[in-house]
Each structure stands twice: as structure tokens, then as C-alpha cells.
């Protein structure tokens, strides 16, 4: 795998291979020495144009467990014009000798532009680009679902027949996009639940079902309910009238939590707005996978770094 830019590019077999390697990586966390020498001598740069401590430390832990050298580059607040700075920064990183660039950027497509450019010849891993994709988040979500379903026998399994409701700000969510492609590739069926203002135009052409009513969606007893973070600025841009109304109609409150099937799970990519899109009880219930998602994130990112950086495909 040369780069990881989006889940849309992944075939079913490629996706399962990443999840399986992540299983092997997860085992390392339980060993006496939680470090593998596989990426010794490789340099991984975390290039973050947006703040995201959670994602950055997850990639950092992953790279370090594989013995890579890690450089954290926070480009936020740089005074250079944005366009110049991506190219200039990339060329700087190339000169430093970066083997992989983990990039978080506010502009959709920035990782692909970097991968297609001749500015740098490193493996590019998308750590979230604008409102486009966040592929490692979707992979860790798929990994988490698979582990809840199959436990230690997860290797080789897809998500055939699993029903997933993704609830909230689909329009601006890179997590929703990456999950929609990946989970359907793995055989799951997806239902988006949101007010029409928070759904993209043309959603009818996506491989998902769409519902406006969360209660109807939950009545179908989905195996997985994934709540998306709702951002305050959306309210000011008139996507919905008030936090209270949003919470009442699209929040996972205690009553709705009680409606869920016994073995269904509740996911959230974090950080959560407790009391807005998810109640404290839902976030802390045994159904919640929030903490597992964080732990699994490291395993997935180890797998992705290993697959993009080892082998002839990785830059020498």
C-alpha cells in the first residue's frame, strides 16, 4: 500500500488485510515489550494543520511502537498563505527525509494533492481532511465492531449483515463519509440519520439509506449506533434552530438508549458533547465502545504505518 488517502479506494480484501494486521498489532499491547522493530530507521512526520491531540498522539504511539522516529509538526497558525505553506512544508519534510507524512488538514483533498504532487516522495496517510475523509477512524470503527462481534476469532471476517445507524452532522463529517464507504465495502448496511440540512445534496446516490427520524431508525434495531459530534458553529449557521431542539430530536438520550437491542453497541468518534448528541448514560454504558475505539486506534494506525512503510512499496 503506497498511501492511505481514503477508504473509498479500499477493496474488501485490502480492508480486511488492514484489520487483520491490526489484530496482530493489538496483540503487541499485551506483551512484556510493547515495541516492534519493524520501522526502525524510518521517519514518520505528523503534519497537523488542525489541532487534534487525540489523533496525533494515537499516530505517535503507533509509530513509536513500530520503532519509527516521530516528528510532530504543527503547522497551524503559520503566517504563510495556505497554498504556499503546504508545498513549502512538503518540500521541507522531503529534505528532512520523511518516509511517511501523516497529514491532518482543513482542506478536503489536501492529502491527495500531496500524494499526487512531486513535492515529496513519502507515503501519505490521511489523518482527516476537511469534510472529506478520515480513513483510519473508519478502520478503527470497523475493527471495533468486528471485535465486538467475533472477539478473538475476528481475523478474516467482514461485516456482512451488520446494520449501522450513523446519526448527526453527515454533511460536514469526514468520519461519516469514510465509514459509509468502508462499512458498505465490508458488507454492512448503513443508515444515515440527520435533519435534511445536515445531509449532502445527492445523498440518494450514496449506498446508504437515509432517515430523518431517529426513533424510526432505532426501531429497526440496528446492531451499531454511531453518534457524530455536533459542532456549535453549525447552529449559528442555521442548520438547526437550537441545541435543545437538536438534542431532543437527534440526541441519543436515556429513553432511546433503552430502546436498543441487547447486544447492540454505541460508538462515538470523540470528543463527545455529553448531553447534546449523547447522554452521559449512553456514553458510559457497557454498550459504549468509546474507550475501545481509542485503544483500537493505535492498533489500526500501527497496521497502516506498517503496510505503507514496509516493503518495496514504502519509500527507501
Amino acid at each position: 500500500m503506497r498511501h492511505l488517502l481514503s477508504t473509498r479506494d479500499l477493496s474488501r480484501d485490502e480492508a480486511i488485510a488492514i484489520l487483520d494486521v491490526a489484530e496482530d498489532m493489538a496483540d503487541v499491547a499485551h506483551r512484556e515489550v510493547r515495541k516492534l522493530p519493524a520501522l526502525r530507521g524510518k521517519t514518520v512526520v505528523n503534519l497537523f494543520f488542525e489541532d487534534s491531540t487525540r489523533t496525533r498522539i494515537s499516530f505517535e504511539a503507533a509509530a513509536k511502537r513500530l520503532s519509527a522516529d516521530v516528528i510532530n509538526f504543527s503547522a497551524k497558525g503559520s503566517s504563510v498563505s495556505k497554498g504556499e505553506s503546504l508545498k513549502d512544508t512538503a518540500q521541507t519534510l522531503a529534505a528532512i527525509g520523511a518516509d511517511a507524512v501523516v497529514i491532518r488538514h482543513g482542506a478536503s483533498g489536501a492529502p491527495r494533492v500531496l500524494a499526487n504532487s512531486d513535492w515529496i516522495d513519502a507515503a501519505i496517510v490521511n489523518a482527516g481532511d476537511g469534510t472529506h475523509e478520515h480513513p483510519t477512524q473508519a478502520l478503527l470503527d470497523a475493527f471495533t465492531i468486528r471485535r465486538r462481534l467475533h472477539g478473538a476469532d475476528s481475523r478474516g471476517h467482514d461485516l456482512d449483515g451488520v446494520s449501522v445507524a450513523i446519526v448527526g452532522d453527515i454533511l460536514h463529517s469526514r468520519v461519516a463519509r469514510s465509514n459509509a464507504w468502508l462499512l458498505t465495502t465490508l458488507g454492512a448496511s448503513i443508515t444515515f440519520v440527520a435533519p435534511a440540512t445536515l445531509l449532502p445534496i445527492g445523498i440518494e446516490n450514496w449506498p446508504v439509506e437515509v432517515r430523518y427520524d431517529l426513533d424510526i431508525a432505532l426501531a429497526a434495531k440496528p446492531d451499531v449506533v454511531m453518534m457524530l459530534r455536533i459542532q456549535g458553529e453549525r447552529m449559528h449557521a442555521a442548520f438547526f434552530p437550537s441545541a435543545r431542539e437538536y438534542s431532543r430530536i437527534w440526541g441519543l438520550d436515556d429513553e432511546r438508549l433503552a430502546m436498543l437491542a441487547a447486544d447492540s453497541i454505541v460508538m462515538h468518534p470523540g470528543p463527545m458533547n455529553r448531553g447534546l448528541e449523547i447522554s452521559a448514560a449512553a456514553a458510559d454504558s457497557p454498550r459504549s465502545t468509546v474507550r475501545e475505539q481509542v485503544a483500537n486506534g493505535v492498533s489500526i494506525r500501527m497496521a497502516v504505518l506498517y503496510l505503507t512503510l514496509s516493503g518495496e512499496g514504502g519509500k527507501q
Binding site: 487483520d20 496482530d24 512484556e32 522493530p37 519493524a38 513500530l66 516493503g311 518495496e312 527507501q316
Partner: protein, 181 residues
Amino acid sequence: MPARTVLQQADITRALTRISHEILESNRGPDNLVVLGIPTRGVVLAARIAAMLAEISGTAVPSGSLDVTMYRDDLGRNPTRMPSPTEVPPGGIDGKTVVLVDDVLYSGRTIRSALDALGAIGRPSIVRLATLVDRGHRELPIRPDFVGKNLPSSTNERINVHLHEIDGDEFVTIEEIEGGE
């Protein structure tokens, strides 16, 4: 040159039986033994040896697998290798006599990786090495303790090991390959 069969199924079984006896002899019984196979075919051989040890000695001997992929020194020189699971038996390996099992011993680099991988999961008191075929051409100071068959070979030959559990048939062949290995 077509592939030449050097071991038939019966030869393989006989070799493993002999190795099992030698292990018991050198260990003075089955106590404290753990047999770990190196994926892919080493794992099958390890399981068979563990079963033979149990049968001969009347005491169960744990077996498992030890993936060495992450510890290889040639990751950047070949297409990406997919790792396999490492399965350590419940008793662990601390203070145990670990017998590493592989199908073919060649440069010794895989065993070097295996020793590193072993170090990451515990601290055995003794590590031994068993291999079905030793074809020579060592590049590191590594020597097997138990050998099924010494098979002098040239670097432009390839050894193919087929085992029932994986390949559906069972034999060891040697064949010439173009341009050497």
C-alpha cells in the same frame, strides 16, 4: 530441470519422529518444554512434534506460533510481508525450554529474527532449534540442534515443502530456478 523429490510423506514423518526423540533425550524428558513454530509451515511442524512428544512421553507438551515478520532485517527489500498471529501457549515461555521449529533452515536470518521476537514475549531459560531441512549457506552464526535432513543445495535451487494441513499433499522437492535466489 524439473523438481526432484527428496523426502516423501513417510520420510517426513520418520524425520519428525526422530527429532522428537532427540528433543526428549537432550531435555531429559518432556518437562518444561514449549514448541513454537515459525509461520507458516513451522507452525504445523511444531504442532506435530508437540503431539509426538506427548505420545512418546505420555505428558502434554504445549505448542504455539511465533511470528517473526516485524523483526526481519529485509522488510524494505521485498514486497510488504503480511504478519501472522503469534500464539503463546497459556503457560508462557518464561523459564521454559523453547524449541523453535521451521521447515527450511537457510541463511539463518529468520532464526535471528525469531530470537528477537522471542525476547519481546518473555525470557526462556534455553532456546533450541529444530528444522525439517537444513540446506546450508548460513550467513549468520546459527546452528540447528535437531535436523530432519541435511540437504546440500546450490543458491539457484529452491526447496519446496508441502504439508497436508496447508497444501493438501506432502513432500519435499528441490528444483532449479532461473537466475538464482
